[in-house]
C-alpha cells in the first residue's frame, strides 16, 4: 500500500513537470495557432542557465531567478525574429522552422557549454527525504516541485480568469483581427504570451536540473510527452493541460511500476518482464488513443 502511495506521488510529480511544459505549449498552440516544436529548447535553456548561475553563485534560488528571464527573453526573441513571419503560413512551414530551431539551440549549447553535461545540486534546504507516513520516505525536493507546480496552476487560472490581460489573451485566441480592431496591440500580446510559455518551460527545466542530466538535447525527450498531454487535455486549454499532465504522469509511472507485477501473475517471469516493459512504454499512447475515441477534441477543448 505504501508503495502505491509512493508511486502515486512519483506520477504526480512527473505530471506537474509535464504541466509546466504543456501549459506554455498549449497557450502558444491554442491561442496563436503555432506549432512550436522548439518548446523543449527553452526547457533546456532554463536548465543550462539555471545550472550555470547556481554553480557560479552557489545559490539555487539565484539560478532559478536567472533561468526564468533567460528562457522568457529567448522565447520573445525567437517569436520576434522567427515565428512572427510564420503566423500566416501553413503548419508544415512552422514545423520545419521550429524543428530547425531545435538543432540550432542544441548546437548553440554545445558551442557555449561544450559536450560535458552540467551538474546542478539540490539546494541544502531542499535536500534529504522526509517521512510522510511511517515507512514512506519521500525526497523533499520532489515535494517542492509538486508544490511549485500547483502554485503555478493556480496563478495561471487567476491570470486568465480574473485579469484584463488574461481576457485579452483569451479574446485574441478567438478572433485575432477583432481584438486588434478594438485597440489591443495584438503583436505585443502574442510576444508576451510566447514569452510566458517559454518562461514556464524554463521553470520546468531549471527545476528538473537537480534531478536530471543537464545536457544538450534534453528537451526532446520531454517534448513528445508534452504533445501527448496537450492532445489529451484539449489544445489551448489550461484546465486540459492540468488534467492531461496529471493523467499522463500517473499512467506512465503506475504502468512502469505495476504492469510487471500484474503480468507476472499471468506469465512466467521473463515473458512477463518483456511484455510489461513494452506495454508500459506504450501506455500513454494507448491512453491518448482511448481519449480521442471518446472525445476527439480532448478532455477540455478550449473552443468547443
Amino acid at each position: 500500500m505504501l508503495l502505491v502511495i509512493e508511486q502515486f506521488l512519483n506520477g504526480l510529480q512527473l505530471g506537474i513537470t509535464l504541466f509546466l511544459m504543456s501549459a506554455g505549449l498549449t497557450l502558444v498552440f491554442g491561442i496563436m495557432q503555432v506549432i512550436n516544436l522548439a518548446h523543449g529548447s527553452f526547457y533546456m535553456i532554463g536548465a543550462y542557465v539555471g545550472a550555470t548561475v547556481a554553480a557560479a553563485s552557489g545559490s539555487f534560488l539565484l539560478g532559478v531567478a536567472a533561468a526564468l528571464p533567460a528562457a522568457a527573453l529567448c522565447g520573445m526573441v525567437v517569436e520576434f525574429v522567427v515565428l512572427r513571419r510564420l503566423y500566416e503560413r501553413e503548419h508544415l512551414d512552422q514545423v520545419l522552422a521550429t524543428f530547425g530551431l531545435i538543432m540550432f539551440f542544441n548546437e548553440l549549447t554545445r558551442i557555449i557549454w561544450g559536450r560535458q553535461p552540467l551538474f546542478m545540486e539540490v539546494p541544502l534546504w531542499l535536500g534529504g527525504s522526509v517521512e510522510l507516513l511511517p515507512g514512506l520516505v519521500y525526497p523533499v525536493y520532489r515535494l517542492a516541485v509538486i508544490g511549485v507546480g500547483l502554485a503555478v496552476a493556480v496563478s495561471l487560472w487567476a491570470l486568465f480568469a480574473k485579469t484584463r490581460l488574461g481576457m485579452q489573451i483569451r479574446a485574441g485566441g478567438v478572433n485575432r483581427k477583432m481584438v486588434g480592431a478594438l485597440g489591443v496591440n495584438i503583436k505585443l500580446l502574442y510576444t508576451l504570451v510566447f514569452g510566458l510559455g517559454t518562461l514556464l518551460a524554463g521553470l520546468a527545466g531549471v527545476m528538473a536540473g537537480p534531478i536530471l542530466a543537464v545536457e544538450s538535447g534534453m528537451g526532446e525527450s520531454i517534448l513528445i510527452l508534452t504533445f501527448v498531454v496537450i492532445v489529451i487535455g484539449g489544445i489551448g486549454s489550461i484546465r486540459g493541460a492540468v488534467a492531461g499532465a496529471v493523467l499522463v504522469g500517473l499512467v506512465d509511472t503506475l504502468g512502469r511500476a505495476f504492469l510487471p507485477a500484474v503480468f507476472r501473475m499471468l506469465f512466467d517471469s521473463s515473458t512477463a518482464d518483456s511484455v510489461a516493459s513494452s506495454l508500459a512504454s506504450m501506455a500513454i499512447y494507448i491512453l491518448m488513443a482511448a481519449v480521442l475515441v471518446v472525445k476527439p477534441k480532448g478532455l477540455f477543448p478550449a473552443h468547443s
Binding site: 553535461p117 525526497p139 545536457e215 518482464d273
Partner: protein, 385 residues
C-alpha cells in the same frame, strides 16, 4: 624548352619521392548528439598520440580524417564508403556505438581494409562474425559487466536487482553480469531507452529490498538514475554497481557527490601504475585541460598500436597481411600495461574494480582491485579464422 620541362618533371618526381604520401586513417565517430563527448575523447586521445610524434605514428607520417556519424548506422556506412572509395583509406577506426559498428564493420572487413575498434565491440563480431581484418583494441562489450558480476559475488551479496534500457545492448550487458554472478536475481527490469525519470523503478527497488543493484544505463540515463537514487536516500542502504560506461570523468562531474563510493568495472583507470599511462595522463591533461576518460585511453592505445604496426611494415600497406600480422603482435606500450590479442583479435587483458572518489580537480575513479588477470572474452571459442 624540352629540357626545361624535363627538369621540371624530374624535380617533381624527386619531391614526390622525398615527401611520401602520409598514411590515411579514417575515423568514424560520434561527435554530435548527447553522446558527442564520447567521440570527442576518442578523437582527442588518438590525436594526442599523433601530436606526440609530430604528425607521425611509428615514425610514419599519417593523416587522420575524422567524420561525425551522429550515432546513426546509415551515416556511418556512408562515411565508410566514402573513405574507402574516394579517399582510398585502408585503416578505419573510431566507432563508439555497437549499432553503428554492426552496420559498418561486417561490410568493410570483407574488403581489403582493416578496422580497429576504439570502443564498440558487440558479441557477434567477437564470436561467429569475427574477421582477420577486424581488431578490437578496447574490450569485448560484456567484459566490464563480467568483472562486476564476479566482484559482487565475491563481496558476498546474495541477491541483485538488474536495470538496463530496453534495447539489444541492454540485454547483452546484463547477460555479461549474470555470466559471473552466483546469487539470486530479484528482478531484471528493462526501461525505455532515453528515460529521464527513474522514480518508479527506484521505489520498486526500495520495496524489493535486494542486497545490491547492478545497472547499465549509459550517458544521461545513468546521470539521472544515480542522482535520483541518491536523492531517494537509497545510496546508503543498497549499494549500486555498474560498468565503467556510467562512471567516466565527464559523467561523474555531472552526477556530483551522488556517485562517490560507487564501485564499477573497467579495464583502465588513470591511476594504473605503468610508465605509458603516467605520461599519457600527464600529456592529456596538459593538452586538453581535462582528465582523460577510458575512451580517450582507448583512442590513444589504438593510435599507438597502429604506429607499432606501421613501423614494422615501414608504412607500406600494399601487403595488408604483413600489416595485420604486425598489429596482432600488439608490440606497443599500452596505457593498460598488460595487453595482447587473443585468437579472435580481441584483447586479453586485466580487468579491474574501481571506486568513485572526489579529488581537488573533480570526481574521478581510483583502482581498488584487479579481479580478472588475462581475461579472455566469452565468445573467443566461437571464432573460426
Amino acid at each position: 624548352m624540352k629540357k626545361v620541362v624535363f627538369v621540371l618533371f624530374f624535380l617533381a618526381a624527386c619531391t614526390h619521392l622525398a615527401i611520401a604520401e602520409p598514411v590515411k586513417i579514417g575515423m568514424i565517430t560520434t561527435l554530435s548528439t548527447k553522446a558527442g563527448y564520447l567521440g570527442e575523447d576518442t578523437r582527442d586521445g588518438f590525436k594526442l598520440a599523433i601530436a606526440q610524434e609530430g604528425g607521425k605514428l611509428g615514425g610514419i607520417p599519417v593523416e587522420l580524417m575524422v567524420e561525425d556519424d551522429g550515432r546513426k548506422p546509415d551515416k556511418g556506412k556512408q562515411i565508410a564508403e566514402r573513405y574507402i572509395k574516394k579517399d582510398k583509406v585502408r585503416i578505419l577506426t573510431g566507432i563508439v556505438f555497437s549499432n553503428v559498428a554492426m552496420a559498418v564493420v561486417p561490410k568493410v572487413v570483407r574488403q581489403d581494409v582493416v578496422y580497429l575498434s576504439t570502443n564498440a565491440a558487440p558479441s557477434k563480431l567477437a564470436g561467429k562474425g569475427c574477421s582477420p581484418n577486424y581488431f578490437s583494441v578496447s574490450y569485448q562489450n560484456d567484459n566490464l559487466d563480467e568483472v562486476v558480476g564476479q566482484y559482487v559475488s565475491e563481496t558476498g551479496h546474495k541477491s541483485v536487482y538488474l536495470l538496463a534500457p530496453n534495447y539489444p545492448a541492454g540485454k547483452d550487458h546484463l547477460a555479461g553480469f549474470k555470466r559471473y554472478f552466483t546469487g539470486d536475481i530479484v528482478a531484471e527490469v528493462y526501461t525505455k531507452l532515453g528515460q529521464a525519470d527513474y522514480a518508479a523503478e527506484i521505489a520498486a527497488i526500495r520495496a524489493a529490498k535486494p542486497e545490491s543493484v547492478f545497472f547499465f544505463l549509459p550517458g544521461g540515463m545513468g546521470i539521472n538514475f544515480l542522482k535520483q537514487y541518491s536523492q531517494a536516500g537509497l545510496g546508503r542502504e543498497i549499494p549500486v554497481y555498474g560498468p565503467a560506461f556510467s562512471f567516466d570523468e565527464r559523467i561523474l562531474n555531472a552526477v556530483g557527490p551522488a556517485a562517490v563510493g560507487v564501485k564499477n568495472g573497467s579495464q583502465w583507470t588513470h591511476d594504473l601504475d605503468n610508465e605509458a599511462n603516467r605520461q599519457f595522463v600527464k600529456a592529456y591533461v596538459e593538452a586538453y585541460g581535462r582528465m582523460p576518460t577510458l575512451y580517450a585511453g582507448q583512442g590513444y592505445d589504438t593510435a599507438r598500436l597502429i604506429g607499432s604496426a606501421l613501423k614494422a611494415v615501414s608504412g607500406n600497406l600494399d601487403n595488408l597481411d604483413a600489416f595485420k600480422a604486425a598489429l596482432k603482435k600488439a608490440d606497443f606500450a599500452s596505457v593498460r600495461g598488460n595487453f595482447r590479442f587473443g585468437t579472435n583479435q580481441h584483447p586479453v587483458q586485466d580487468v579491474y574494480i574501481r571506486e568513485v572518489v572526489k579529488t581537488d580537480t573533480g570526481y574521478t575513479n581510483k583502482t581498488v582491485k584487479k579481479v580478472f588477470a588475462d581475461h579472455v572474452d566469452a565468445y573467443a571459442s566461437q571464432c573460426k579464422m
